[in-house]
């Protein structure tokens, strides 16, 4: 059993968090598009210690066929964690947490894709968490949408995603592991940055209506920063500077 200890205070007198970040600061991020050869599109992302690969296959034929939709493509999103990606080895195979994350991520991504262009087909998105350090669902989604773009799938916009949360009575951006484990609330958000339409929203914890609004505001800021990184990653692969 590895325990992530709760720090005495999450925020010091100077307003810095345990890892030295400001309240509204993302962890260091690195995004690279087109990193795998077999997949139609792919992306590698690091956010803090998170290390995640996303790959996209499709639009392609649906098997089994009874899953086909006559007038649109379906999206299948598979979030999975390597057994060695977490402190205590995770048994292989999807648990209930992975299933739920896959479902809400699938729905978040669907919103951005012009599904009606590819009737009867499927877009398969596979996400593999190689190292996990709080924020994997949102970070995966950020990578998955870059992989979709890399695969040439027509989209309304990219999906950028990050979480905000509450620690020591403050709303902060992008929780790290001790903040995620011992904080008061976690608010994962995904959006299409151009229109600010929110396509994923979850909340765990205890917040007032005002705090939720504040948390969404902050998450939006984070999403916009990630959006720039996403576009840079795609540009550096496909030129167009």
């Amino acid at each position: 059993m590895v325990k992530v200890e709760k720090p005495d205070e999450f925020i010091d007198e100077e307003g810095k968090r345990v890892d030295g970040r400001d309240l509204n600061e993302l962890r260091p991020v690195k995004i690279e598009a087109n990193v795998l050869n077999r997949a139609d599109g792919s992306c590698y992302i690091e956010l803090g210690d998170n290390k995640i690969y996303a790959a996209v296959y499709g639009p392609r034929e649906v098997h089994p066929r009874h899953l086909q939709e006559p007038d649109r493509a379906i999206v299948r999103y598979k979030y999975s964690m390597a057994p060695f990606s977490v402190s205590d080895r995770k048994r292989p195979g999807p648990g209930r947490r992975s299933k739920e994350i896959s479902k809400v991520s699938e729905e978040a991504l669907e919103s951005a894709i012009f599904l009606e262009k590819y009737p009867k087909s499927v877009i398969d998105v596979f996400v593999e968490i190689v190292e996990s350090a709080a924020g994997t669902r949102t970070t995966s989604l950020t990578a998955a949408s870059v992989a979709c773009a890399d695969a040439g799938i027509p989209m309304r916009d990219l999906i950028a995603s990050c979480a905000s949360g509450k620690i020591d009575e403050e709303i902060v951006l992008d929780l790290n592991e001790p903040e995620d484990n011992h904080g008061d609330a976690d608010v994962p958000v995904a959006m299409m940055p151009r229109t600010e339409d929110i396509t994923l929203l979850q909340m765990d914890g205890d917040l007032t209506a005002e705090e939720i609004d504040e948390a969404i505001d902050l998450a939006k800021e984070g999403c916009k920063q990630l959006y720039e990184e996403q576009k840079n990653a795609l540009k550096s692969k496909y030129g167009g500077k």
């Binding site: 729905e107 600010e196 396509t199 969404i216």
Partner: protein, 261 residues
């Protein structure tokens, strides 16, 4: 085929009504269907509730056993929430292990109970690191008339509110007769259909919804959980409005729960 065309026409009709601010069963957009709660329905369960919301029907049973605590919470009881969408509940459900929909419902109900701290899990510790009470909450949907999140949450908390710890059966000293629940988490689910946002959607309304938002509030009217679902998206303004309305509706539902047990 014909049946599908009729279904399409019905969907269009329902959608149009909502744009005009009304619904096919004459409810207003924010109005809930009748809630009926029957607790202590299953004698063999430690707590139980049969709940109907309109023609949606759910039976929840609570069973308690003694067992080992989780390694990272040696001084706490264990809460396990399952949802089963019985194949009898809908023509599209199939027998087998929980699919994506059932998994999402069980996890949202579980978080509602857990994050609101409705159950004091520490009070369920028998011997630290060795033995604790395990609380199984099994939510069984037997008629899928829409809005499973809210009705599952209502039936789960109603069953817990009336549950009695089976001390005798396990030869343990009785410390409390019930689970000692101090707050009542209630979920309210909003569905966006064009320009209208409706609450407590029926099965057919859910088929035309673009996007969904469930907000769980506790007795202090704090928000303890949210879950966006379906494709589609919400604006921040809409979310604010849904949070406000859900808090209000949650208060009414909480009243109904209290008066039923």
């Amino acid at each position: 085929m014909d049946e599908e065309i009729i279904a399409e026409i019905e969907k269009d009709y329902i959608f149009d009504l909502i744009q005009k601010g009304t619904r096919s069963d004459e409810r207003n957009l924010e109005e809930y269907r009748d809630i009926n709660i029957e607790t202590n329905y299953v004698k063999k369960a430690d707590g139980s509730a049969k709940v109907s919301l309109g023609d949606t029907k759910v039976v929840t049973g609570v069973k308690m056993e003694t067992g080992e605590p989780f390694e990272d919470t040696p001084d706490q009881g264990v809460l396990i929430t399952n949802a089963e969408l019985n194949a009898m509940a809908s023509p599209v459900y199939e027998p087998g292990p929980p699919g994506k929909e059932a998994t999402e419902i069980s996890r949202v109900v579980d978080r509602g109970i857990r994050e609101s701290e409705a159950i004091d899990l520490k009070s369920l510790c028998i011997e630290e690191g060795e033995e604790v009470w395990m609380v199984f909450v099994d939510v069984h949907v037997i008629d899928q008339g829409g809005n499973l999140f809210d009705v599952s949450m209502i039936s789960a908390i109603s069953a817990l509110l009336t549950a009695e710890i089976p001390y005798e059966q396990y030869d343990k000293d009785p410390e409390a007769t019930s689970l000692n629940i101090n707050t009542i988490p209630v979920s309210c689910t909003a569905l966006k259909c064009g320009n209208g946002i409706i609450y407590d959607p029926t099965y057919i309304e859910e088929r035309i919804g673009e996007t969904r938002l469930t907000v769980i509030t506790d007795s202090s009217e704090n928000i303890v959980g949210m879950q966006k679902g379906l494709g589609g998206s919400w604006t921040q303004e809409e979310i604010k409005e849904v949070v406000k309305t859900s808090t209000q509706k949650g208060k009414e539902i909480r009243k109904t729960i209290k008066s039923s047990i």
